[in-house]
Amino acid sequence: MTAFADDSTRRLIPRWRYSFSTDLTAEHTGLARRGRLQPESTPALDAAESGFLENPTLVSAAELVACGAAYQEPTRAYEAALYLLERRGEVRAAVARQAEWITGAPLDVREPHTIASGADLSSARTAAEGVIRTRRAQLELWPRDPIGWIDLARAYAVIGQVDKARRAVNAALQLAPNHRVVLRVAARFAFHSGRPDEAYARISRHPRTRSDPWLMSSELALAQIVDRSPRFCRAARAILEERSHAPGHLSELAGAAATLDLGAGKHRRARSLFRQSLEDPTENALAQVEWARKTDSSLSIPEKALEVPYSYEANYWRARRAADWNAALAGARDWLLDEPYSSRPAIFGSSIAAMALHDYPLAEEFARAGLVADSRDNSLWNNLAVALAKRDRPWEAARAFSKIEMSPESSLPRFVANATRGLIAFRLGQPEIGRRWYDEADTGAPDGEMRKLVLLHWAAEELRLAPARARQLLERTAYDEGATADPLIAQLRDGLERQLESGKSDEAVHPPPDGKPALAGPT
């Protein structure tokens, strides 16, 4: 087996971004209430505007700029801002900065830690360290800032300092125990740190969940993860039917309910709910539909929905389904930069890099980037071991593999670990031991695509040593007539067949290293 990526399940657990991210979703707005709209008229701004036009002075310009900020009408204060900036030497630094802000310049106190699409994977860590510096300084001055605490927690989670992240999340919870975003972040963090039961309990027991569609959607998703019946399934369906909130507030709830139905085989109802989730989707709901299209190809996505900001994961699923591996990798990269505390994009990225593109340095980079946030993720250690073995660094691969905690509860299936053992043994020049491990993996793998993957990777190793055996293995990976092949498996299979026909392996044969102890085979 090579790099492992379990994409058979996806739940709509909340996203977690820094507060300075742009294009925040409806989750970050309050639920609309009657009679709370501000007046349309802007009398003070009108007065300041005519005051400046009639008598442009530093004072009247500063007044108009202040009003422009207060009313969020920067265009009406633009001339006044230019007036001040032309006289920058005569005004105070903060006044000039306010004028700059009116003209569109970002505040320099705003976060310089935003990561551009396609950036180096290490930039997430650099950004997190910057956030930690600024947030700590800010929280020292004003600790009653739950958003600051969850930003700090996220940054700590990104660099793998889970205990510090937990303390920061708890501080946020103490300050804002009923705030939707804080609650969802707390649940997301508990899930991230391997405590899904705590995540579920936090959401399902909170009184706000019975009326808040965002918390309800988290309850539905987390219930599936901890294998419980959702408490608010009926209430969720009622809210979705009544459409008592704007579509943006119901997007994730509809997606979560649809996922429940999809799992229960109720495809028609799932399709209808997925459609509802796309009326004004979050990127998370969009990704859910893209993922679900693997199971239900009749699901369609309106063009408009594809414009949702941050839809990196959706891009990944779409490209993966289309076997556009470079685009899938780009999607995984951006997704990992967007959610560097999550191991899934790192797992998927390393898997695509290794399996589809045979770019093992990149597979290593993805795996290592994921391990920064979660050094206990067995799948990532496995993928790192695979990348290193494929780069003919089997001893480093063995060291990486030794980090995997093999236990009955391990998230890494035993057959995957056995296949990786087989790969390392082959690369150590011990093909007999490698075969025994691959054989174990073959026996333990579930029928279907997983077994095919085991066989394909075993065949890749045999190709260099025993082409006839490789052909035998390859024959076992054929799909039944009429069956739809997984694009990744089809790609691997085609590649191996070409190599068999040409009689040339893409990878070199390595003799056993002298004086090195033999790897033990399965007992």
Binding site: F20, V59, A62, A66, V109, T134, L141
Partner: protein, 350 residues
């Protein structure tokens, strides 16, 4: 109902010049002022003089119909009620002879044919040439001890008002006015007399200086809540004096558009975490503008005075139940102490 304005051959602003009012006051000139406050009731401001050549600010109620009002007559009625409320409050305070409050000199009405209803209703208060905006100017070379004296006197003025069960609710640079070296609080159009409710309920406060609870339309139905608005605005003056910008506009710059009060549709409680976050960031920037010898004290004062959640506003001692939460007494002492320290060049800790 007619929607047309009454025909006024000469604009009222001009027609009133030269009019002689009661008590020997004469309207001399339209006052040229930079105003950005919300218009609660429309008034016309004039410079007036009396026989002793003393000057005064004359505010005449503008009773011209507003065609944009949903009900012009009700609007007119409300203007009269609010004007009367304000007049009675200023008269009450004038009788108290408060040193930090702009004194009301006279109020009344005169027949004036060209005006709607055939009368002009007016208020006469002390004249000041300057307000904090022009005093502070906008440049960096600003005397910190002078700023502390301004804050000290503003805190005294608020203390005087609060003791008399009055909340000002519009403590902003334009309303901090100068009489030589003396600082007073003027402009009572948003003020609330604790003895009787305002006829227009909760007034719309100026968005460049209002506290978050007002901007996000949280119900404020106690005098404690209203005086806590004054506390926030006193703290915002600290920001203004040392940076040239009010705290509220700094918050506005830092809030994501969806969290800004102009667009927010949820409750104040839901908005509060975002406002607290913007406040922390604003404090971080303010720290760079505060004079080093008193930076920590200023930051502590701003934290206490401007806490976005009014429940956490005020000196810790007062919040613990010793005296009213909105008391400014401790800040009167603090600003005085810090001013003395700066003036005498004393070390940071005595």
């Amino acid at each position: 109902m007619s929607t047309a304005n009454p025909t006024v051959p000469v604009p009222l602003e001009t027609a009133l010049i030269g009019q002689v009012l009661d008590a020997g006051w004469t309207i001399r000139a339209l006052r040229d002022e930079v105003s950005s406050g919300p218009i609660r009731i429309p008034t016309l401001s004039f410079l007036g003089t009396n026989g002793q050549d003393e000057r005064a600010l004359i505010r005449a109620l503008d009773l011209r119909l507003d065609p944009a009002a949903p009900d012009e007559l009700k609007d007119l009625e409300m203007r009269l009620k609010v004007f009367n409320y304000q007049r009675e409050l200023i008269e009450r305070l004038a009788g108290e002879r408060l040193r930090g409050i702009v004194r009301g000199l006279h109020s009344g009405s005169i027949p004036f044919a060209a005006a709607p209803l055939g009368r002009i209703y007016y208020l006469i208060v002390e004249w000041s040439d300057d307000d904090l905006r022009s005093q502070v100017a906008l440049h960096d070379e600003f005397d910190a001890s002078y700023a502390l004296r301004v804050l000290h006197q503003a805190a005294i003025a608020l203390h005087e008002l609060h003791q008399r069960n009055v909340a000002h609710q519009s403590v902003r640079p334009a309303n901090v006015v100068f009489f030589g070296s003396q600082v007073k609080l003027g402009e009572f159009s948003c003020a609330v007399d604790g003895r009787k409710p305002r006829p227009d309920g909760t007034p719309l406060l100026d968005w460049t200086s209002a506290p978050p609870e007002s901007l996000y339309q949280a119900p404020i139905d106690s005098m404690n809540g209203r005086c806590l608005i004054d506390l926030y605005q006193l703290g915002s003056l600290v920001a203004y004096l040392f940076s040239g910008t009010s705290l509220t506009t700094q918050l506005a710059q830092r809030l994501q558009p969806i969290h800004h009060w102009r667009h927010w549709t949820g409750s104040f409680a839901e908005a509060l975490p975002y406002v607290n976050h913007a406040f922390g960031d604003a404090l971080r920037e303010m720290a760079a503008h505060l004079p080093e010898p008193c930076r920590d004290e200023f930051l502590a004062a701003m934290r206490e005075l401007c806490a976005p959640d009014p429940a956490h506003r005020g000196h810790p001692h007062n919040r613990a139940g010793h005296g009213p939460q909105y008391s400014t007494e401790r800040y009167i002492s603090l600003f005085d102490r810090l001013a003395t320290r700066l003036e005498q060049g004393l070390p940071r800790r005595l």
